[in-house]
């Protein structure tokens, strides 16, 4: 639903200026983020950058302070 609003907000101006490349990027990113958000709402575990950083710093490099 929100996606439709987003498309309504963004696309006309881009179409008017004929920015096809930008429209493509916009739809790609929008699809990707909506997918992630949808999976999160449905209760899937989303790979979390913070846990990744924690793993790298704490367990691989052992550089953390505490």
């Amino acid at each position: 639903m929100l996606d439709i609003i987003a498309v309504i907000i963004e696309v006309p101006e881009l179409l008017k200026r004929q920015y096809w490349r930008e429209i493509f990027i916009f739809f790609f990113l929008l699809f990707f983020t909506t997918l992630v958000a949808y999976l999160y709402v449905k209760g899937f575990e989303i790979p979390n950058p913070m846990d990744g950083l924690k793993y790298i710093v704490k367990d691989l490099l052992k550089l953390n302070y505490k």
């Binding site: 920015y19 930008e22 916009f26 990113l29 929008l30 989303i46 950083l53 924690k54 790298i56 953390n64």
Partner: protein, 372 residues
């Protein structure tokens, strides 16, 4: 080169003045007043020392960041990387920078939402505040840099007024002996505290590499950057000393010490419940901070992709930062641990190594000469 210049002109038409840059930096730094809490657990009553050392370190690195900007007036960080490292490697390094900044917006969203839920609206779900905040951020970024810059003086003035009025209200509860014992700070704790202060409030001045190119008077950038940093530092220092002097030993088990101080205020049974003011100021300054980061990241991604306008990225980035902010961690205590122990280390490549490396390469290849 010439094409690049056209891209910039189309990406951001707005021009801000150097005074607005001062206010922007001020808002950026005071936005983190509550996150300074992370170092309370480590350095306790000596946190103010750490703030000063952190400021000195940041001043050194600010000169590094300014050195990056100086040979390339009007170019933002991504374009500088493109010129210095060449097209492909420059993109890769810009991607590292962006990924370093990427998590700051979700993190701040979660921080402000957690704060609101814990202190002011205990029954409301966390996601509501984050959603409202990110929607406002989207709107502000869509309107462009000039709007964000124009709102910053108001926010700064309100912040200063609230900080000083809180001091006046609480002056009877102050106890100077809370600052003692003074020198029980071990070297390791000093280093960690300084690093936290450098990484979280002060080092984030690096994001100004995306905004400073659009300042009208390029020669005043240096002065206004240091001025903003200094004012921000002074306000943070005042707030920290006030918190220490009022709360004392209680300090290290508070989630947000500033808020706790405000709840203690009771002037003749009339002036009470001023903690709402703290919440308001936090909202204002964090809003400015989120806007600056949001804008810079969106602009950075748009420059990497060589887009002609940054607007298409705004909504996707808002959605993904909302999702990430909700799945970051279970409780705000985890966030405190991450901010104190993990984040400063993980920010080293972006905040220290890459800028210094770039500066060395700029020096070796003598860029200003080549350009002329």
């Amino acid at each position: 080169m010439f094409l690049g210049a056209i891209y910039v002109m189309r990406l951001e038409k707005g021009i801000i003045s150097s005074t607005q840059l001062v206010y922007l930096i001020f808002g950026l730094i005071t936005g983190s007043i509550l996150t300074v809490t992370y170092s309370f657990g480590i350095t306790k009553q000596n946190t103010w020392i750490v703030i000063i050392t952190g400021f000195v370190v940041t001043a050194v690195f600010t000169t590094v960041y300014l050195g990056l900007m100086k040979p390339f007036p009007g170019k933002n960080l991504v374009e500088i990387n493109d010129i210095v490292y060449g097209n492909f490697l420059g993109r890769v390094i810009s991607c590292i920078y962006i990924s370093g900044f990427f998590m700051i917006v979700p993190y701040n969203l979660r921080f402000v939402a957690d704060f609101m839920v814990e202190s002011l609206f205990p029954e409301t779900p966390v996601v509501v505040f984050a959603l409202v905040f990110v929607l406002l951020g989207m709107w502000a970024v869509r309107e462009g840099l000039e709007v964000i810059a124009r709102v910053s003086p108001i926010i700064s003035v309100v912040t200063i007024m609230v900080v000083f009025s809180l001091i006046i209200f609480i002056i009877k509860d102050m106890n100077i002996t809370n600052l003692l014992p003074l020198y029980n700070l071990t070297f390791k704790k000093l280093v960690q505290g300084t690093h936290i202060i450098f990484a979280i409030p002060f080092g984030e001045i690096q994001i100004l590499l995306f905004i400073a190119p659009y300042v009208k008077e390029q020669k005043k950038v240096k002065k206004s950057m240091f001025l903003g940093l200094l004012f921000g530092m002074i306000i943070v220092l005042i707030v920290i000393i006030r918190n220490i002097v009022v709360l004392g030993v209680l300090l290290d088990n508070q989630v947000s010490a500033t808020y706790q101080v405000a709840t203690l205020i009771n002037v003749g049974e009339t002036i009470t419940k001023v903690e709402v003011l703290v919440g308001m100021v936090l909202l204002f300054t964090l809003f400015l901070k989120v806007c600056i980061f949001y804008y810079a990241i969106v602009l950075g991604i748009a420059t990497i992709l060589k887009m002609r306008t940054y607007k298409p990225i705004i909504i996707p980035y808002g959605v993904i930062s909302l999702t990430l902010s909700m799945s970051l961690y279970e409780a705000s205590i985890d966030g405190g641990y991450f901010g104190a122990n993990i984040y400063p280390i993980s920010a080293i490549p972006v905040q220290v190594i890459l800028p210094v490396l770039t500066l060395i390469i700029i020096w070796l290849r003598r860029f200003p000469k080549e350009k002329s």
